[in-house]
């Protein structure tokens, strides 16, 4: 039993467990699953910006900040207690793809090329993570939600705008992953 938990998870474990976030939050306190609104709350709380978008009582959204604080701790536990930080169970095609990009064989969840910042490897991580992070934050707030709020919660509610957003997420992702990253990974 324990080995099934600490070993790699098949999709039919990961997906349904992720989907349970919807009932957990609705039953816990009538909350809709969503993560990217925390970006707004943190900005409102820390920077106290003058823009109208940030003038609201962020303290009422404390539940959302508690959720993302827990998510950080969950990341710690996944590695310490559940043996999570191993190379992902990628397909043969994916291995070939990353080799064709000149990347080293995966030995952990994340590629050293993007995540191991050092004196001889800083430009690529900066471009991928800073630019990527900015677009994620800007786009999620412009779209009114992210993968959790639109692609899981909104679709479960059969909300039309969430289906549009989820498809747009994929369109943007396909474009950059196929057209931009092959050139950018060589930085």
């Amino acid at each position: 039993m324990w080995e099934a938990i600490t070993g790699p998870w098949p999709w039919y474990t990961t997906g349904p467990l992720l989907g349970l976030m919807v009932p957990f939050l609705m039953l816990a306190g009538n909350k809709h699953f969503g993560v990217s609104s925390s970006l707004r709350h943190v900005c409102a709380a820390v920077f106290k910006p003058k823009a109208e978008y940030f003038r609201y009582d962020w303290k009422k959204s404390g539940w959302n900040l508690a959720l993302v604080a827990g998510t950080i701790v969950g990341g710690v536990l996944a590695v310490l207690a559940f043996g999570a930080d191993t190379s992902p169970q990628l397909s043969e095609g994916a291995h070939a793809l990353f080799a064709s990009w000149g990347m080293e064989e995966a030995t952990a969840l994340q590629p050293a090329e993007v995540f191991a910042v050092g004196a001889d490897n800083w430009l690529r991580p900066l471009v991928f993570l800073a630019l990527g992070g900015f677009l994620v934050g800007f786009g999620a707030r412009y779209a009114g939600g992210c993968t959790s709020g639109h692609a899981i919660m909104g679709t479960a509610l059969l909300n039309p705008g969430s289906y549009v957003a989820a498809i747009a997420f994929l369109v943007g992702g396909f474009a950059v992953s196929n057209l931009i990253i092959p050139a950018l990974i060589a930085l």
């Binding site: 909350k31 604080a69 827990g70 990341g75 559940f82 910042v117 992210c146 479960a156 747009a168």
Partner: protein
Amino acid sequence: MALLKYFLIGIYFGIVLVKGEVVSWFRIQEMFHLQSAYMYLVIASAVVVGMIFVFAAKAFKLRSLDGQNLDFKGKPFNKVGNTAGGVIFGFGWALAGACPGPMYALLGAGYWAIAVGLVFAFLGALTYGYLKPRLPH
């Protein structure tokens, strides 16, 4: 103490994200290059579980543990916002290999470099907040 339950649900979320490899940059590129069905099946089955719950909760008129009638109202449909914002989000999702939930989880998993992504995600949200009155939605 009222927030403790959400903190615990967050811990669960973080474990599932990291253990399920949803946080992996490799997995995200693999998905966008159609090299594996894993991420699609994960997202689809998560949606199905959510849908079944919503359907059952409506049918049985479930209430939250603190006695509230459940809210089933989705977010407003903004044609330009959902589309343009969504595509921009997709650009970032592919580059960083992580959406907001995984960014928090990766911080816990010890991938410190993601702090850069997270700080810039805050800056992205901040920029949106200032530009919102001028953007079409």
